[in-house]
Subunit: 638 residues, 2 copies
């Protein structure tokens, strides 16, 4: 069978494919994450690529305009490779972060291991996946060595694994004698590390190279993100995200806990909703890659403490009640079938351990993924999602705290607030002299509301324009039609009804502004409280890592201007994207990583902000733009 | 397909069987425990029954004398049912109760820990059962200590347990928050050690003193013995034993392995039979004590390697084929429900690890129970049951070997051999001058055959009387009606037909004697081979422990006279009874004991007697009474 080579541009990666395969097949084989919402049926039109040279057999598609087709544009899923090819992949066809899904990390950043693309042989050698296959040539038994089949297997395995602590289930044990002889003392053994043991879960006679997959999941309150990983190569084959279907039962963790408490089958419904969300992502990934869900043999999930409880169907009741005690911060591994996850039924699901009710496995995962816990310098890790969680520390100490800062910046509690989705105003400039507002929306759509980054811009611009004072009060002397009196106080209109998607004016009100100021004050006060606890100063922070979907689109300068983040040079800041899923992926690919996350969870000191006066003092001082103490914000003109 | 009914007498039980089945099949189906040493191959002749009415198709057998055949005697395993039948089952063909059931250790002996009766409070304090309940007063959570419920539990438990490695299942985790609050932060926690973890398996609010039970099982080839133990007090509440129902498929491990190999569901049947045996014992114990089987929360089983395989339903095929490799010597713990044991379904069943195909968990268990592995002096541990296993060693080294000595001393392969059951001749004195024999039978019943201790007596007496020479040849010059010529050579009659239960003469023939000499030679040669391997002498042995059902009825002096056991003062010898079940019980009551058994299994060097020349040389030298080298038996006059 002839084999052709498809060279993808701009990466330059060359992928050999047998005759009859499509460009999409080649892309998948090469780990190039083409968008493909329809799963390769030619209907979504997302996998458009340009054939620069070579021949393909591609049917005409409604999804490709004739003039584009003339230039070589084809749907990768429909184009059968007929010769060696050069194919250009437009940015727009790559699975890139939907702004919320923020699947991977921000571009250009390297965070720990686990990068799928361009993995070299050398890197492969460092793969120590939590589930792996090992080919063994066993010494044949003889009278001089009549040790049992299992001992023979364990002895050979110990040399490969560097472990001696093996376990095998009864069902597999019953097959061991047959399988070892069928393979003439050559077998491929699948192992997974769980509960402090190395479990032997599969034995195939002879050499077995069939791929096995692992799933890393970020179980977010708003969004769930999955990375599907080839455990033999370490490559990330599929990245996708979806809104957490629990949202129908409440936007934030508190409202979901209340739902669980106050409805007979509330907990069951919430668990079902998040499992459904993940199962859909798994089904999508599996169909995209042409594999089965059952080929996924291990799952690592990172979520905040409430999400972890709900994923497992464990009641989160006491998370919300003082003194805020979760059922567990470090939860035992469970079998996929126990929680209804549509992967291999006996796959272990490891939920990464958290620290407290409001500092969960998503944070410890991120801390390990970004190397905070091994840094010489003091690092501040900030994850402002639905909640605001922060970690301060280095190799010697780690502090964590949480503040309910998030919802406002996710649009919750703000009259025209919305999530960072299509139509959300994400950039705002105000020219008071012309009573003009310039805004940009996600997807360049008609505006439907204001998302977090838009709200920060808005606050900064209003302040800079003198429309609001340092304490957030509106200057009602402003002249222009955008300022008006509303039911709840003064309002400033960003977009008038005729421009908007909703047919309503989109404005920000004084209560909105005060709400946002409280949120930003909580974050900043949390940072200051941690610093005070370890007797450090803002200037001692050498690096600030901004994580979470929110982080990727945050304008740091504006965030400093409103006093949300410390006034440090922008070079100190780094966007690290979804470190929760990255950490989970590290745990799939390097079996020591899970232990590291556990150690980090144990090392981390949780600072309960509601205890003592420090936080309240700091919070009150931060209720100004940017702050009461302007010396903390030298770069911001008052 | 026509179906016939077989009515068994004297029980009167009627069993329907389809055409083509044998009487043995009908007996098995009806739970009638016919003896069947050969596993149904028609060679052992034990399953003789009398067809009173109806037609069978039975080939002529050497095992049935023509005159008996004329009276309707057939081998049940060979007789194919051709019509409705009435079949009489002679007592001698039934597996029946016998002395071995006296299960426990020989009276008056104390072996290690685990003595149930009269346990004092002080002894109770040393109880560290593998399954236990711990009452905990937990500190109430507060803002200063809002650690998770599970962490709170583990922290308190760690203080009691001295372990930090806890595990909890998802189902129980889901109940943790409720149970801890229901008990107002006082709970009783049930834990069990398994797979290197301490598993939390139950939590009750408040103080919970309801008793929990453990089961120690000796899974013997011939007999299964159970000790039911109160895990809170350490007391042994019930001891019982029963024939292993596998006996219907073969007397010894080899014939059962053959049965497993050569019948479609042979393995399933064998597993079912032993589980049935144990379940009956459990049911008996439970009804005796007024508890439920489910109250038994943990099981420790000790058996030889084949029995362990069959208990778990793991194929023992390769145990019987050179190089005799079992599937596993150290088997993983399994849940009771996985093997159908009628105790708590999630109870762990721990099978004690063995060393090789013919040195199993019953031996390692015995070695730990008797303290061989921690002895300063060199100890010889001898277990002559269906098989003969021996251990030689002390705290520094341990050697083990196995020889197929057993069956002859259990009556197998001896014309009038039988197990130590009612009617078995167990003591023999011969007065050649009067052509008289004085014998004693078990239960003072009419003699039905000769059991192991009777055979040893017999050999010693025949030798002493000069009726047989040192190599076992009969002195045909003997004058008296007890000596006569048989089909297979000279025979010596112990009991004439008119005195016996069978209506046949009970005699011992020259081939029987040679067979017994081979068996005793194998044991002695095994002991000598081990001594040679470690460059030690008979006189270096400071203690000889005789274990197993056989041991309890062995006349040591006579055993020395025939050269079965070393010529050492009787004070060196100690009967230790069923150390297999004692060791299993120790593992129930002291959780470190299982680890000790594992270490012993690992430390023990298995000496494969079929490799090298040592054993063969020793064996040939031992084919005399007592031995070729009389200097080895100074106390025995030649």
């Amino acid at each position: 069978m002839p084999e052709y080579t498809v060279r993808f541009l701009p990466s330059g990666r060359s992928i050999p494919v047998p005759e009859g395969k499509t460009i999409l097949d080649a892309a998948i084989a090469g780990g190039i994450a083409l968008r493909s919402a329809c799963g390769g049926s030619g209907t979504c039109g997302q996998c458009r690529v340009v054939v620069r040279s070579g021949r393909v057999d591609a049917p005409r598609s409604q999804r490709v305009r004739p003039e584009d087709a003339a230039l070589g544009v084809v749907l990768a899923c429909q184009a059968v490779v007929q010769s060696d090819l050069e194919v250009e992949v437009p940015e727009a066809s790559l699975l890139s972060e939907h702004q919320v899904l923020a699947a991977g990390r921000a571009r250009g950043q390297t965070v720990g291991e686990g990068e799928g693309e361009g993995r070299s042989e050398g890197e492969r050698a460092h793969l120590r996946p939590v589930f792996r296959k090992t080919f063994l040539r066993l010494p044949e038994p003889g009278l001089e060595d009549a040790s049992s089949d299992l001992t023979r297997l364990y002895t050979a395995l110990a040399k490969e694994e560097g472990s001696r602590n093996f376990q095998v289930g009864l069902e597999l044990l019953r097959k061991v004698p047959r399988l070892m002889r069928e393979g003439a003392w050559q077998v491929t053994v699948s192992c997974v590390d769980a509960r402090g043991m190395t479990e032997v879960v599969d034995i195939s006679p002879g050499r077995d190279d069939t791929p096995v997959y692992g799933l890393a999941v970020d179980v977010g309150t708003t969004t769930c993100v999955t990375h599907l990983v080839d455990l033999l190569t370490g490559e990330t084959l599929d990245v996708r995200g979806a809104y957490n279907r629990q949202a129908r039962y409440g936007d934030d963790v508190i409202s979901r806990i209340i739902y669980a408490d106050e409805n007979d089958d509330g907990l069951v419904k919430l668990q079902g909703a998040v499992i459904e969300t993940i199962n859909d992502l798994v089904a999508g990934a599996a169909s995209h890659l042409g594999i089965r869900g059952e080929d996924i043999r291990v799952v690592v999930a990172a979520g905040n403490t409430t999400m972890t409880h709900l994923l497992l169907g464990v009641s989160p009741t006491y998370i919300r009640l003082e003194p805020y005690t979760p059922a567990a911060t470090s939860v035992p591994p469970v079998k996929a079938r126990e929680i209804g996850l549509a992967v291999a039924p006996d796959a272990w699901v490891f939920c990464l351990p958290g620290v407290a009710s409001y500092v969960g496995g998503d944070i410890t995962s991120g801390v390990v993924a970004t190397g905070v816990a091994s840094s010489d310098d003091v690092v501040l890790f900030v994850d402002i999602g639905t909640n605001g969680e922060m970690v301060l520390g280095n190799r010697d100490w780690l502090l964590a705290c949480a503040c309910s800062a998030g919802p406002a910046f996710e649009g919750v509690g703000i009259r025209h607030g919305m999530r960072a989705m299509k139509g959300a105003i994400e950039r705002v400039e105000i020219d008071p002299s012309r009573d003009a507002v310039v805004y940009r929306t996600i997807g360049a759509a008609r505006p439907a509301g204001i998302c977090g980054s838009g709200l920060i811009d808005c606050l900064a611009s209003l302040r800079r324009a003198g429309i609001i004072s340092r304490n957030g009060s509106f200057d009602t002397a402003y002249e222009g039609r955008r300022m008006r009196a509303g039911d709840a106080g003064p309002e400033f209109v960003l977009a008038f009804a005729e421009e908007t998607a909703t047919g309503e004016d989109i404005y920000i009100s004084e209560p909105d502004v005060k709400n946002l100021i409280r949120s930003k004050a909580a974050v900043y006060a949390g940072i200051r409280s941690m610093l005070r606890m370890v007797d450090q100063d803002i200037s001692d922070i050498k690096k600030i890592l901004v994580a979470g979907g929110f982080g990727s689109y945050l304008n740091v300068r504006k965030a400093i201007e409103i006093g949300l983040l410390p006034d440090l040079p922008e070079s100190v800041y780094r966007y690290v994207g979804n470190t929760s899923v990255e950490g989970a992926k590290m745990c799939l690919l390097r079996r020591e990583a899970r232990r590291e996350v556990e150690l980090v969870a144990r090392r981390m000191t949780y600072l309960e902000l509601s205890v003592g006066n420090t936080f309240m003092e700091e919070f009150v001082s931060a209720l100004f733009l940017p702050h009461t103490d302007l010396s903390l914000f030298p770069s911001v003109s008052a």
